[in-house]
Symmetry: C2
Subunit: 458 residues, 2 copies
Amino acid sequence: MKYTALLFTVALSSGLSAQNITDTAHHEAFIRGVYDRALEGQYAYNWLEELCKDVGPRLAGSEGAENAVRWAKATLDTLGFDTVYLQEVSVPHWERGEESCYFTESKEALSMCGLGGTAPTAREGLTAKVIEIPDVDDLENYSREDIEGKIVFFSAPMRQTYINTGSAYGEAVKKRFIGAVEASQYGALGVVIRSVTTKKDDAPHTGSMTYSGAYRNIPAAALGYLSADRLQRALRENPELEITLKLANTMYDRTTSYNVIAEVRGKTYPREIAIAGGHLDSWDLAEGAQDDGAGAVQSMEAIYLLIQSGYEFKRTHRVVLFMNEEFGLDGARTYAVMADSLNEDHVIGIESDGGGDVPRGFSIQALQSGVEAVKSLRWYLEPYSLNEYSVGYSGADIGQLNNDYNILLGYRADSQRYFDYHHAPTDTFETINARALELGSASMASMLYLLDQYEVRP
Amino acid sequence: MKYTALLFTVALSSGLSAQNITDTAHHEAFIRGVYDRALEGQYAYNWLEELCKDVGPRLAGSEGAENAVRWAKATLDTLGFDTVYLQEVSVPHWERGEESCYFTESKEALSMCGLGGTAPTAREGLTAKVIEIPDVDDLENYSREDIEGKIVFFSAPMRQTYINTGSAYGEAVKKRFIGAVEASQYGALGVVIRSVTTKKDDAPHTGSMTYSGAYRNIPAAALGYLSADRLQRALRENPELEITLKLANTMYDRTTSYNVIAEVRGKTYPREIAIAGGHLDSWDLAEGAQDDGAGAVQSMEAIYLLIQSGYEFKRTHRVVLFMNEEFGLDGARTYAVMADSLNEDHVIGIESDGGGDVPRGFSIQALQSGVEAVKSLRWYLEPYSLNEYSVGYSGADIGQLNNDYNILLGYRADSQRYFDYHHAPTDTFETINARALELGSASMASMLYLLDQYEVRP
């Protein structure tokens, strides 16, 4: 509650003192400068091009991820931080092999990819009849006899009618994450799902899945939306139809990777820490521009914009580029454990992991006093089209730091396009609009600045 | 002021009657249904694909424009309107011929296009030295001697620092519209401009320009952003450099085209008219997905969504697809003159002509009472991310209907990407996101519904 009272005086009182009016005008001018430099400099956009085109896909444990770590360290080294360092993270090492799915008789191929962490099939593939079941919850309408020895095809599309696509994703992702476990209980030999996506194209969307020790680890893959349509039609014509699924992936021993951290020390409260974070890893098939190259470069730029302005940080600020959000959150967990063991006081966290589209606002994860403190600042950012402030989930990575003494914010980009590309080979640099991306960095920077200036905490 | 009092009672009073609460809940449910049908049906998105891919470019006066009129009439005929008809419009007929621009000595080509309505060059082209001048206002720093006999290169980029790109466009477009007139006063032989765009690619952006009877009509073309950079660098190395500009376009006699109008008659106030409009024409080099295919199909869908729901319209509602917004606003002027001569009472107009991106809100052109009436409805639409309500300009087409007795609204899609594609060959169907487009149609439909239900007028 430390400075909340001051904050309300400045932002809400109708009797502003001369000093406070000066402060307010100064803050407004500072923020305007932040946006100007982001929009003119386009640093994040240029970094993202390097990350997507020079580094490319960067699944944790892969050579791509190592290259990404090197790239991020080298880039951050040039930006005027006090220190830039790597933090060791143990990560899984799974590699996709050759894979395919086709109608057994006609050999007609379906657009597909294995889900992240799926078990492989036998070398000759898995050939079986298919039973179409809309979603995981519908399994209860079937008997073991219906399913045993077959490949379950979870065919339900992601719902289009939610306004925030994140809500639709939350509902739809169940079939991807636990579809194999659930189907395996009924004796299924494998699972194919309709990709979890908002777009009716034929790009397959991968993503993490889980197994349970209690049942066989059956292979699981995602079909492109249009391929799922084709399979659906084919099954209506011939319910005895067989498909062949081939997956030749390998799970290796765990390996070492890194969080990349850049820090600028606070002058007034060096032991209080504010972080801006995104994750550096991506899926193996994707350039990972939206997920989460955008968030990584925005986090870098957010603090760089403040450094560049000559801003005197009150608190210590860190960029944290987390490793392996996609496949187990190892980087975030490691970071949180380390922070705890060092007794670090993380006061503020902002994560960007919802794509690089135009800014909408922030989701606030904090006690009510923290929520109110953040909302009292919103008028500073309304001229920049940031007008949606919700309460709840901040982000998967910084969420690991959640406690009653800090304020965690999820930077919210517009969600409409995000799940068109999420985890698919179509998640490329070309889907990013320079201005949308830069407005996001500037929004994060401005929020960090205000929280630091007003010394906000819950 | 007719129903504004009622409106405030329903929307703002804390003592809602049981009847009013029921009405409010009914409106909320109705609007939810409108969004559901738009997002699931994706009618506008499918129509836009036909308009962009089957019809293609449709500059007023061209065969493409004729095909667009036929397509729109045929499509509207299937949607359950009471009447669908064409309204004759006289339009100019300008045709682009072969064109090029290159460094005279090296023959190295620059990416370019002639501006809309430019005079042609001589057959062998115009070869001359180039003088780089940032913008039209900078001409006053030069003498006739500096400029005479040369090609003026207006090199200033569109400013990146405005948050709304429309503001930056307003500033930047001067060089395109009056650059030739102004340079001609100094004896320039031609004009090339840096394309008016937010994106640093090499697509040239055309658009309308004007001439004045008092000076020679000199030819004018736009260079792609990167080509403008190249010309700038080349001039720094060699200020004596010559370029050759060739434009072989032709201005023919005016011809006849059409506004396409679809109407559903109001049951309570049939003589009061509400319209949803966009323009059907595009530039000749563009599929015109953002400008303004999106607005055309959203206008169609907005009223179709209401018809489809079985809604009993109080007022008469029209879709108006205006012809030739780009090259003289002939359709809008003709429509306004006709409306005036028929003594029609246009109460409401909503125009979509800012691209098909995610919804942001509405710009309101009305007396203060009308502005307040619209704003009092905004809480219905906030769950759909419509939260920016500004006062001012509605749209170029419906703006022709502006008077003190009506409310004109500009539907405002997010502006960040719009000028990346505006008037360029890159303005294609692929730049449109289905959900963003559909949310726009639903937003327009919901606003029309509320204005009709509450019988709003200024």
